[in-house]
Amino acid sequence: MADLAVSDLVVGYGPVRALRGVSMRVPSGSIVAVLGANGAGKSTLLRAISGTLRFHRGACQGAVTLGDQRLTGLDAASVVARGVVQVPEGRRVFARMTVEENLRAGGLGRSRRENAKAHDQVVELFPVLRDRARQRAGLLSGGEQQMLAIGRALMAGPTTLLLDEPTLGLAPLMAARIAETIKEINSLGTSVLLVEQNVAMALSLASHAYVLEVGEVALEGTAAELRDSDEVRRRYLGVADAVEGTLETRTLSRWS
């Protein structure tokens, strides 16, 4: 087990700067949340960690390290082999393959015994995946697909799990279920880096959080601190008690 650390990360897609010197730390065994609006650079951050920037023609400077190992410059498969596994945004299950095959695809790099063990764990966490083992993944509901996506990532035996907006587009009940699961996975010893737009949910899970804004860390602190900060309340939680007046004039002035 080792801490995942990002230091001074700069990522560009051609002339476009998506991240400008981001540093953060995911201590071993913790849940850390990354918040931010669309386009703040959240997904780019995950791509840089998981080694998939090249799929988007992005290039990065700075360092991503796991303990004393450098992850920057490794290809995605090698990052997975070191225990850092990402659940992609939008679930991206292999729709034409069965549920069982999807899970298998997650554990290709591991031994038969490790896979059997991970598989037991996954179906215990998500019994529905056992019931639907032979169904095509494309036929699952959104929530079930998210479970499959998480289960598939767990098959790789991650020590650090990267989650990219796992509750996006899910019904509130299902989102709560996923949140429960994240807590459970974490309690089994896996560190979690959670990227979310659902700030209330993310802050209730995480111990520590970072707020990204146009490619920079605008705020960071413990979850409790951020929950209480006016800035976060106003901008992300939709609570406007303390600053109601200013918010209103702002909106008006834009339209005047």
């Binding site: 998981s50 998939t52 995605a76 498969a77 992609p88 292999f94 393959m97 290709l108």
Partner: protein, 296 residues
């Protein structure tokens, strides 16, 4: 009636061989999204090695070497050309493979010259008779071998870790990479398998009743191209059906061309492409292909 059965079985047999080639085409396309126009040259390379080596090491060893070499050449093309090329579009890579094809084919054609090389196969020009139906032994062996190879391939594709990795990569390369699938290995193995299959196909394209391997063999291999296209470039089932359709069409058209003299001589060579055109007019993605959903 006997003629019909003979033509049908011959058609299926040659169709199975086309299916081997088309299958290679499809695997490469699925794994790397590249239409491999160098496929005919891989086939020629495999066949050429078998033809040159059998007098030295015997037929079976030569076949083994030929298959291995074709797989190796294919893997080398993937490693040295396809993987290095940092291009925005896969159609550019397709054109690059045309270049590779020209280089390999030109060199092999120079080596072969005007010779017709025998393949040294143990079946020679033996025929088997069932009732009134006369079939060349080579055709039966071709059918059995192709069927066996295709079965093994499809089972592997369905059940082995390699097959799962391959299908995952074909469906969504980035996500497959996120799950730890080594895309480089997947695509190289796809090329190698395709190369090996092409070499086996080369053998059966050049044995009796064909006189042997000559400089035009790679043109024959081109007939597998409509087979892959009409089946749907990204469908393994499509490759099999496409191969059989092309094989039977060609065999029937050549066999009955005297009755269709109004169509002119050599209709058998043209027919596969006509069938492809007709099918593509009705089903633009091929018989089993995935319809391309493009967002505007």
């Amino acid at each position: 009636m006997t003629t019909f059965v003979e033509l049908l079985v011959n058609g299926i047999s040659i169709g199975a061989v086309y299916a081997l080639i088309a299958l290679g085409f499809v695997i490469i396309f699925k794994a790397t999204e590249v239409v491999n126009f160098a496929h005919a040259s891989l086939l020629l390379a495999g066949g050429y090695l078998v033809a040159r080596l059998w007098p030295l090491v015997g037929f079976w060893a030569a076949l083994l070497i030929g298959v291995a070499a074709a797989a190796l050449v294919a893997a080398a093309i993937e490693f040295l050309v396809i993987r290095r090329a940092n291009v925005a579009s896969h159609s550019v890579l397709a054109i690059v493979t045309i270049g590779v094809d020209i280089v390999i084919t030109t060199e092999l054609t120079r080596q072969i010259g005007t010779d017709v090389l025998a393949m040294g196969d143990p079946w020679g020009s033996e025929v088997v008779r069932f009732g009134g139906v006369t079939l060349a032994e080579t055709r039966i062996v071709a059918l059995v071998t192709a069927a066996a190879l295709i079965t093994v391939f499809l089972l592997a594709f369905k059940y082995t870790g390699w097959g799962v990795a391959m299908r995952a990569a074909a469906e969504d390369a980035e996500t497959a990479a996120l799950m730890g699938v080594r895309l480089g290995r997947v695509s190289m193995s796809a090329w190698a398998v395709a190369g090996g299959l092409a070499a086996v196909a080369a053998l059966f394209l050049c044995v009796f009743p064909t006189p042997g391997l000559d400089r035009s063999t790679s043109l024959v291999a081109l007939k597998a191209f409509p087979a892959a296209i009409l089946g749907g470039l990204d469908s393994t089932t499509g490759a099999l059906v496409g191969g059989l359709v092309i094989g039977v069409t060609e065999s029937m058209m050549s066999g009955y061309q005297n009755d269709m003299a109004f169509l002119g001589r050599g209709i058998g060579d043209v027919a596969p492409f006509l069938v492809m055109l007709v099918i593509l007019l009705i089903r633009p993605a091929g018989l089993f292909g995935t319809k391309e959903l493009a967002r505007v």
